[in-house]
Symmetry: D4
Subunit: 253 residues, 8 copies
């Protein structure tokens, strides 16, 4: 059981004043911060601790198991957001949760909670090629769910350099930028050289042969000569969007 | 030559009004944004474009070549910051630039410019072990150079879990956290689970055998189950600190 | 033919006393320690030599070939235990061996032998996520087959740190712990820091991109900073459970 | 701050009875479980939590920094044990701690604490070649420090199969066996086939070319067809010995 | 927006003479060099900038999306060339573009533009085995589309050395040679030793086991002891043919 | 055109004596050593040059293309041998070549030539597990086709050490031994320690997780501490059998 | 002995006319195309066969052995060119060959032959950073030795995008371009997008951590989305320059 | 203790006849097949079991430890052969064993035993470049020690194809060929295409960049399209020579 010192002190004072019995204190410390479903331990404290509620990674879970988690979150008045959701499971869930929105390219599902977030912070998502779009849209939906203003710029890879420059006015003032690119993964470095905000590079598995499923792009991004570029896992659109969202929201807070 | 459309429009109006001759316009567009030294093309426009002046990666450069770049930056009234500077070259440079400060653990050098930055934004740097300290201090010095408030927490790896918890009050309110860890690189995930700000994970080459020079830590960090964790290159203390600094400065702006 | 010196000495004394003829001795030394089926050489001496009878790795074998081995073991009055058994082959075998029990999540089959083992020794199996459950249940069934008391704790990965702490009373007194985790594989290190018994880390292939089919988790576990953590092959639930079972049984013997 | 529920309950009862003031409780919860030296946070609670005091990995630490940790442990009446200690630093420490013992092959140092452990449990360490000896002796010293009876068998690799069989009586009854082997790392599998106890395989970096610094041996050990074999990091003699020691001590307890 | 200095100067003179208004200049500079389709930004300036129009990599694009790009190029009076086109999508496109030619082995499609190129320059494509043929034909079709004379030599791998020598008169005078080979990828080195022109080595994924999907061949080609051998990505028939075509066309220009 | 000096000298003498015209000489030098089919260049000189006719690797070739090569070889009075032949293509070929024999486990096809080879030389093929059998039978069929006496020993992996020893009389006098093993690939080293003949180790892709498709076994075999062990590619049963056959035939010649 | 058919025919006619004796023909065919030194077989036919004489890779050869090869080439009236020559061996050779020129950055040596080549063809060598300069100069010296006009552009990496654009007039008309870059290796793709000639990408080992000695740059270059980019080995300045030189010379011939 | 059944039967008959006491039998079975030195267990039975006495891998052993093993072998009337012996240790040993011969290029030492072997069998060792010579000479000395006729052909790599053809008469009739090659490792495939005997390919660590210390050559050799090529470890000259020696000796026996 992990609690911070200040909370304990308050509880202990209450206890020493007789306001609480020892067992009450323990129970309160234990306070239901996790709710168990048949398959998972839902971390309902996360919204408080990390700023956003738990997100469901739907791959490898049944529609039933996903629904169980959503019910817990809805009961807690929290937003529901799921990623890597296949179309067939999505259909089942959309029938069950009528407020849900599914983006089939991003493969994300969203059920808005009762307290809508005031949109703020600018996230731009850029792709090198059209094949990187699903990863990019996953990032986009994530940042949107976090309450950011979002913009998508597609197919501006480095082999046609004027395409990126033409779009410069559209991304130069972002609070955070996500760049999804496969193959040699050079685009984040080039974008990074044009802006002053952090650039979250998401390598994609687009490519063949020596791209080794996105490894070439990942290594390229990790070795970027642009100081404002950081990388996440291959095809990790969600994580790219989440980090960009965190940064953009912090910027305006 | 790359210029944005708005700037051109202004120049063109000046030209059409006769305020400028065509050659003047071209010269101005060309305007010395790069200064050549015998070994380098110093990007003096970077402070304007990216928010901070060019940083010198000193490894593989002579003290002479480094000094040349510093002279260009000083002339431009910019800050000088260098990384990966060996003690012997540092000695030469400290003799030459009396305002310089050298941190032998971080191997960084700093010559403050004429306009000191108002400190703002909180960056915390955490290490798993004592061996990760040089990388951590490189990150720390970088964030300090960018004008952030910085704090260092050392040796709180996951094998002794209460050590991190004891320090929680010291990092829970940071604007951005850098975590430097070698071996299995698990600490960023654990830190990420306790906070709401972005965590920049810096894998270090500390370890042996199957750590493969930091690869194990890097892979661990890329696969982190904590959504707010992103990774930079192995031993890339500078990049970790730079990204944390960018985020922290944006937060308070 | 491999026999230990002491056995030979006894046989030789019997021979020199005339109790045995040379051919008898050789036959006895040769004594059927291996029984051949059309596809395999069943090591029926293993229960004596290694403590537990041979286990059948069912992948790549026909139901027929598996049944052949089971018949040999049953004839030898030994337990039958099989792993990696697909549901369709399981159906065939369950029809044929009515005492058999099949766990479809673990994909294990068990036909108890005539001498039930007195349960003893405590093995706890812990997973980071719900996706690690099949590997965890394989470990669980293995330790149960070996006669251990077993407990399963699911979905307590490091990104939600209080989940593990809440379960601490349930695993702190185990004789051996198996931790199944994919992605960055950080959980075994964290568990290892809380207990004094050996922790068998089983990396799983859960994850994507730079998890490289479990390699990231495996490397993380091999580099664990916790001294009581050892690792087995990716997805090797059986081996994890077997080692934990061995240790737990030794502890109470 | 992490404390288990039962402890809190006791403290709270004391508090509600007025035996303790709130601040006393907090202080006690905080109770110095970590002692800071200039370079490290010494985990003095580990002996209680994990069964053995913290061990110092000496590589990359100055003799001064190591001595600081030893002083803390001695003050706490704990054993001091260090690994990867170079001869020159050893000399400095032996001058300072006269009770210390240094094994130059194992590169370990030991300063016994005030309460000697009653020797119990049998650990055997086996090497494939003579080059594996330093790693084997590190394992041996570790198990000895933990209070086990230890035995060393050297140079019995699989290319001369009768060498291992001749030694079988010397290892067949061990409680745990450590096998250190480089090159193809086949020995642990062969040893595993002869015994019923757990075998901790330690790959060594002995070999050349496609041994890739121990990677070939490590992969061989992870893929061992013997169910009682588990692996630790390359050259991780300490960890091999520690796990064997834990198992052997548990066995006799 | 990227323009070269000379162009700007001309425009500025026109502007200063009053021939153009500032807005005209900007528009002209912006001049539609990219045409957007729903899924792509077609780089219609490429033919001017790089010598050949944009080529469509058809994998992962719908027939619809490919047709959109072709319509843009046809409107621009440019050639259409597509690679990695599956037979089913090819059928759709052949129905729509009656002038199109599809090579099912190469999986390329070509719609000639209004200005046929005068054939010139000699490209020879050589394969080690019959399995390398699809990659080789992709190279062949590419060089043919670029206006080169092409020749194909199949199945002359190094294990039957006289086969290559018999064909020597057919390739010794080429302007550029493409060699497609899988397995150990030795053929480009051998070919390189016989000729004075550049040899573009294309590793193929033909092979099994330690060929690691073409990695062995790729490494072999990168390490070629023949100075005139360079390598492209695994199975990159298009790139091999494109480079050979560029070189052959330059040679005759 | 490659010819050895001695042959040329003879032809030249014939020419200078007027026995041959220059064109005759050239034609004779050119003499049809390669026969082209639509898809291949059949190396009909190989039987003379390398001792055995060309073998067809059937994977990736149509039944038609395979038949074309067989017709060429039959016309040349040579044996036909094919590997990696799927059952469906086998059916087609068996209908067409009535003398053909197909082994569905080995996936090899054989059409004996008009001059049967006198059997000689002893090749033994040994497998670690039952899963290695297809690779082992491919080796067996290959050695049999080359005219060797062959023997197969299955499922004698190192985890049950007496199984191999029981079979020792069956392999100790071989002229060459092929050992097929997956997982850790330790068996060839152990076999190599018992015999004086060469051991050809064939790693198989049997295994999972960190076996990385046979890489672990391959590395183990390359690092074998037994001096008489050499390795071929993963799953390369044909090559293992071919080398063993060559050695065994040489031994008795 | 390998000769082409046409040559043989001529010799044979001479022979049949009695102009030559058979032995003369053989000797002529054999004609000293290789000269042996104590350590090497110098391929003196290469200038004729491949366009340029043999180049000496000096690493791992003594100054003596290098001088031996140079003497052979000088005797043959050929140019001498050596790479990877350390300063100390260079000193020895410069004393011995007074016409030699040594470039200490490129580590190349050149002794011009009696027939100077008429300079023709334009090769431009570009580097991303100053650390890539030694590799770039090796390429430069190679192209110069081949008789090309050469130009060097240094330190125009993608993080400062206007630096490259400013230099565009200096490279846009090259016949072939060499780009040397370490870290993420993105520069060749960007350069490739601006020009119509072939770009030879040379990955350098400049970088640290996940650059893995140039592997990241190499993979990036192999996966380049620019069709006119091909790659050579890491740090292979010579090969980069040689290919560029071949192409440039062909262009103008 | 491992003995074969036939031997036991004989001993048992002697025992049952009273010719031997049980203890005599055991002692005889145990019969000193291993002699212990302070650092090693010398396998003196190997000459009988494997055809040749144990060879000492000298790397990592002191001159003292090597001498100890040599004394044991000399006492057993066996040949002494050592590999990887540095010049300084060689000097010590040459002083001590006056009959010893040291080859400083091969780094081998040989002390002939009392029964010289009648030379027989032909082994040819071929290298691609001059840098491969040390590995080649290690192979050569090994085969010579085994009693083979040996021949060395140096520097005939594939980039100068006529060099190999000129030497063809010198290797075409070998009983076994060793080919040592670094870089792309193509030479064994080419040699394999010219001969009918087995070719043992030894990859060397000669090369740079993407040769990855010999890995590229190793992979190339494992994937050789020539059926008579097998591979050993990188730089494993001894193993290459040993296998060739075994095959050549068998051939003539």
């Amino acid at each position: 059981m992990e609690v911070d010192k200040h909370d304990i002190l308050q509880l202990l004072h209450a206890l020493s004043r007789g306001d609480l019995r020892p067992e009450d204190v323990v129970e309160q410390l234990e306070a239901a911060r996790t709710v168990e479903t048949p398959d998972a331990q839902v971390d309902i404290d996360r919204a408080h601790r990390c700023g956003y509620p738990e997100v469901v990674f739907c791959e490898g879970k049944t529609a039933e198991a996903i629904a169980d988690v959503f019910h817990v979150l809805i009961e807690q008045q929290q937003d529901c957001f799921g990623t890597r959701l296949s179309p067939d499971k999505a259909e089942t869930l959309l029938n069950r949760f009528t407020a849900a929105h599914y983006n089939p390219t991003a493969r994300t599902i969203h059920i808005p909670g009762p307290q809508p977030i005031e949109p703020a912070g600018n996230v731009v998502v850029i792709t090198a090629g059209t094949g990187d779009r699903p990863v990019a849209e996953e990032a986009l939906e994530t940042a949107k769910w976090m309450g950011c203003h979002v913009k998508l710029i597609v197919d501006v890879g480095v082999a046609g350099p004027h395409r990126l420059l033409r779009e410069k006015p559209n991304f130069v003032d972002a609070d955070a930028i996500v760049v999804a690119a496969g193959m040699e993964g050079a685009l984040p470095s080039v974008v990074g050289g044009h802006v002053s905000c952090p650039v979250i590079a998401v390598p994609t598995s687009i490519g063949y042969g020596a791209s080794f499923g996105g490894l070439a792009a990942l290594l390229g991004m990790l070795n970027s000569c642009a100081a404002n570029v950081t990388a996440v896992n291959i095809d990790a659109g969600f994580k790219g969007g989440y980090l960009a969202g965190l940064i953009a929201r912090q910027t305006v807070s």
